[in-house]
Structure formats: structure tokens, C-alpha cells
């Protein structure tokens, strides 16, 4: 019975230590699992893949440091996919503190592309192939206003270059010039893109969301209000698999699985301890 007393009052620091070990071991030994791609992630991939070459994809960075491990791998994979398909990317964000992550990802992927480029046409250039508009406040009002004219909110880009000086932006005035919107969400901005850009202006949307947000996005997927959904680090790993570029998503899946098994074990142990102690108290 002492055993059950102990597991019912187990020190939380032991749980943290066990969790740290089961996460750290697969990360150090680079263990990987085969990844099965789910339908919502494949739909998101197909939404980008089936666009005509040179389409305009708008990416909204709606997360910050607290969600970076989950969403940054999605952003990297999506950018790699977009540039591989020669799509043009307009980056913006509803979270001011998230913009540097967009810049970092864009710098990483464009550097990769330009290193591998054999002709000038293969390279990706700022202003021609991608633009970072930066952040403006207003959220809902901004989303509605972009349906009228981007320049009402973004007269200049993130680097303070007038948008009309950027070749990519010359033909972009409102949502009718955007072929796909990718919302990378750690909060409620995804709901608002769906309500104000999707429902009102008919913009095609795919969502990449943290694990906390993803369950609230499935009803949009079911009602076809979004064309695809990438949920959590698992979703990021699936997208990395689809673009054949393993990253931190795939690297984290064994750790994720082991951690889940450990937590299940603790839940079972805790319940066994609880019921044994309750029975003992009753008798």
C-alpha cells in the first residue's frame, strides 16, 4: 500500500525530470518516426501545390516567441513550397512581436533558394518574388479594409519602401489579387481572417495553428471555410514530409510520442493510486 501512497503524492519535480529525459533522449539521438500525412494537412499542401505558378500567396504571422517551436517549422516548409512552385509571397502579421520570426524564416529560405539557384530566374528577390509588409494595428478593421485597398493601410513595406516601388505590389490592390491566404495562428486572428477575409471577400484560406488553437479550427475545415489545416508540431512534421525537407517538426515527433506515453502512464498510475486509496478509506 505504501507504493500507492507514494504515487498519489509524487513530487511534481520527478514528473518534470522524467519528462525532460524522455524528450531529451530522442532529440540527442535524432530518432525519427515514419510520418503519416493526415487529410487536412494534405489539403493545405494541395491548396498551394495546385495554384498556378507565380500565384500570389499572402502569409500572416500571427504568433510570437511562445508558439515559435510549433509554427516556425510550418512557416519554413510553406515558404519552401511556395518558392519551389515560383509563387510570390506577401508577408504581413497581426502580432507585432511575431514579425521578426517571419523575417528570420524568410531570410533562411530565400538564402537557401539563392544558393541553389543556377539562373537569375531561379533566385528569389525582394520586391519581385516576396515582400514583407510588416504589421499594422486594427485587426478586424484592417482585414475588412484590405478588401478595399492595401495602400490604405500599407503605403510602405516593413523596410519603409513605398509599396508602389515594389514590382510585386504594383498589381496587388485588394483580396481579388490574392490567390491564397495562409494564416499562422496562435490566437484568434485565424477566426477573424475566416470571418472577414474568407466569408466577406471569398479569399481562399489555409490555417497553420498551434495545438491549442487547432481543435477550434476543425469545424471551419468541416464546413469548407478553410481549404486546409496544419495543426501543431505534428502538422508541421507532416508538411515537412510533404515538401521532403525534414526539420524540427519531424525531429520532435519521437520525443512527442514518448512524452505522451509517459503522461498516459502517469495518468493511469495516478488513477490507480486514487482508487486504491479511496477503497481503503471506505473499508
Amino acid at each position: 500500500m505504501k507504493f500507492f501512497d507514494k504515487i498519489a503524492t509524487i513530487d511534481r519535480r520527478i514528473i518534470y525530470l522524467a519528462l525532460g529525459i524522455v524528450v531529451l533522449v530522442p532529440v540527442i539521438f535524432k530518432l525519427v518516426l515514419p510520418i503519416r500525412v493526415s487529410e487536412p494537412v494534405r489539403d493545405a499542401y494541395n491548396s498551394i501545390d495546385r495554384l498556378q505558378d507565380g500565384s500570389v500567396v499572402m502569409v500572416s504571422i500571427d504568433y510570437d516567441a511562445g508558439s515559435e517551436p510549433e509554427i516556425q517549422p510550418m512557416l519554413l516548409s510553406i515558404l519552401r513550397h511556395c518558392f519551389a512552385k515560383h509563387h510570390r509571397v506577401i508577408m504581413t502579421g497581426q502580432w507585432a512581436l511575431g514579425l521578426p520570426f517571419g523575417e528570420i524564416a524568410m531570410a533562411t529560405v530565400t538564402a537557401e533558394r539563392n544558393r541553389a539557384a543556377r539562373t537569375p530566374a531561379d533566385s528569389v528577390l525582394y520586391g519581385r518574388d516576396y515582400v514583407d509588409l510588416g504589421y499594422r494595428p486594427g485587426q478586424r478593421a484592417l482585414m475588412v479594409g484590405l478588401g478595399r485597398e492595401f495602400r490604405d493601410f500599407f503605403a510602405a513595406d516593413y523596410r519603409n519602401t513605398p509599396v508602389d516601388d515594389l514590382p510585386l505590389m504594383r498589381g496587388v490592390h485588394n483580396y481579388s489579387n490574392i490567390d491564397l491566404l495562409v494564416g499562422l495562428e496562435a490566437g484568434n486572428s485565424g477566426d477573424e481572417w475566416i470571418q472577414f477575409a474568407g466569408a466577406r471577400y471569398g479569399v481562399k484560406i489555409i490555417i497553420g495553428a498551434t495545438g491549442v488553437i487547432a481543435p477550434d479550427m476543425f469545424h471551419y475545415m468541416q464546413a469548407r471555410q478553410i481549404k486546409g489545416l496544419i495543426g501543431g508540431l505534428q502538422g508541421a512534421a507532416e508538411y515537412e514530409t510533404l515538401v521532403s525537407h525534414p526539420g524540427t517538426g519531424i525531429a520532435g515527433m519521437v520525443a512527442q510520442s514518448w512524452a505522451h506515453l509517459l503522461l498516459l502512464g502517469f495518468i493511469v498510475l495516478g488513477n490507480v493510486g486514487y482508487f486504491v486509496m479511496r477503497r481503503r478509506a471506505q473499508s
Binding site: 519535480r13 518534470y16 519528462l19 525532460g20 524528450v23 531529451l24 532529440v27 540527442i28 535524432k30 511562445g66 508558439s67 515559435e68 517551436p69 510549433e70 507585432a96 512581436l97 514579425l99 510588416g134 504589421y135 499594422r136 494595428p137 478586424r140 478593421a141 475588412v144 493601410f153 503605403a155 510602405a156 477566426d191 477573424e192 475566416i194 470571418q195 472577414f196 474568407g198 466569408a199 466577406r200 498551434t210 495545438g211 491549442v212 487547432a214 481543435p215 477550434d216 469545424h219 468541416q222 464546413a223 469548407r224 471555410q225 495543426g231 501543431g232 508540431l233 505534428q234 524540427t248 525531429a251 520532435g252 520525443a255 512527442q256 512524452a259 505522451h260 503522461l263
Partner: protein
């Protein structure tokens, strides 16, 4: 060199935050306060660089006629918001709050109806031709019955309500499962950073 310094600072702060798992301590407090301070400074900078300057000052210089002078309206309302710091005239801030609440309510109502209610009803009107569709429709009806309080919860209504509660619990469970996955992902991200980028234990 700057990258190395940045990595060491980030690693040190990560370990300082992790130290809270053992118990509260000055390293954790330092990292916590630093994070709050840096975030606040960053937000002030962004508010100026991406809001006040381009949307007000720059635009005031560029625009002509009514487009220019109408900018004074949000400027005045914005300044009224600051009256909250002065108790004698703090009531003026309510005008600015009333404006923002009015805009948010107007946008919110249209967004909810056009963007959620109608498309979701349309998405629920499905033929009962597959197990998924049947589960979905039964789940929606049972959950609505659970929140229907105009009749006593007896007989068929009670049964429907109980079934609705089961669906709600399953939804909570799925949501919690995803939340656990999200939190573990954050731990994986930080440990990955420590092992690969800081310690270079693995290439």
C-alpha cells in the same frame, strides 16, 4: 560573433526560466522581468513605427483636403483615451472607449453572422449517408438540447441532454489532448535549441 553572443544569452535565459520547475529563484525572476520589459519596449517601438508614424504623421503630411483633416478625429479620440491618467477629466476617455466598443460590436456581429453562424449551419445540413455525417448531426442536436433550458430536463430531453454532455466532454478531451501536445512541443523546441544551437552536442 553576435550570433554566438545571442545564442548564449538565449540559452542562459532558457535555463533561468526552466529553473522555476525546481522552485522560484532570483534567476527566474530576472528572466521573467527582463522578458516583460523587453516585450513592453518592443511593443512601444512597434506602435510608433508601424502605427502612429505611418498611419498618422506620415499620412497627415501626404494627404490633402478632407482625407487629411479627418485624421484629426482618431487623433482626438486617441488623446482622450489618455485622460484616464487624470481623475478629474478621466470621464472623457469613455467617449474613446465607446467608439472602439461600437466599432468592435458592429464588426463582431456581422463577422459572427456572416462568417460563422450561416456557414456553420450550411456545413451542418448534411445528408445522413455516412457515419461521420450522422455523428456530426446527432452531436450538434444533442449539444443544442444540452443548452436548451426552456423546458424541464426530463424524459427524451434529459436523454438528449446527457448525450450532448458526452459530446461536449469528448470535445474538451480532444482540446486538452492538443493542448498537452502543444506544451510538449514548446519543451521539445527549447531542448532542441539547447542541444543543437547552443551545446552543439549533435550535428
Amino acid at each position: 560573433m553576435m550570433h554566438v553572443i545571442g545564442t548564449w544569452i538565449a540559452a542562459g535565459l532558457t535555463l533561468a526560466i526552466f529553473s522555476f520547475l525546481y522552485k522560484d529563484n532570483p534567476f527566474y525572476k530576472f528572466a521573467e522581468h527582463l522578458y516583460v520589459g523587453v516585450s513592453a519596449a518592443f511593443a512601444i517601438l512597434y506602435t510608433w513605427a508601424f502605427d502612429v508614424y505611418p498611419m498618422l504623421i506620415d499620412r497627415f503630411q501626404l494627404e490633402r483636403g478632407a482625407e487629411r483633416w479627418i485624421l484629426l478625429v482618431p487623433t482626438v479620440f486617441g488623446l482622450l483615451m489618455l485622460t484616464r491618467w487624470f481623475p478629474k477629466v478621466s470621464w472623457l476617455s469613455r467617449w474613446a472607449i465607446a467608439l472602439t466598443v461600437g466599432i468592435a460590436a458592429g464588426l463582431g456581429i456581422t463577422g459572427q453572422v456572416q462568417g460563422i453562424l450561416l456557414p456553420q449551419i450550411a456545413g451542418t445540413l448534411l445528408p445522413l449517408t455516412s457515419a461521420n455525417n450522422i455523428i456530426l448531426i446527432v452531436g450538434v442536436i444533442a449539444t443544442l438540447v444540452y443548452f436548451y433550458f426552456s423546458v424541464a430536463q426530463k424524459g427524451a430531453v434529459r436523454l438528449g441532454s446527457r448525450l450532448g454532455m458526452v459530446f461536449i466532454m469528448v470535445a474538451f478531451g480532444a482540446s486538452f489532448g492538443y493542448t498537452v501536445m502543444a506544451r510538449i512541443s514548446l519543451l521539445i523546441g527549447r531542448l532542441h535549441f539547447l542541444v543543437f544551437d547552443w551545446l552543439h552536442l549533435v550535428k
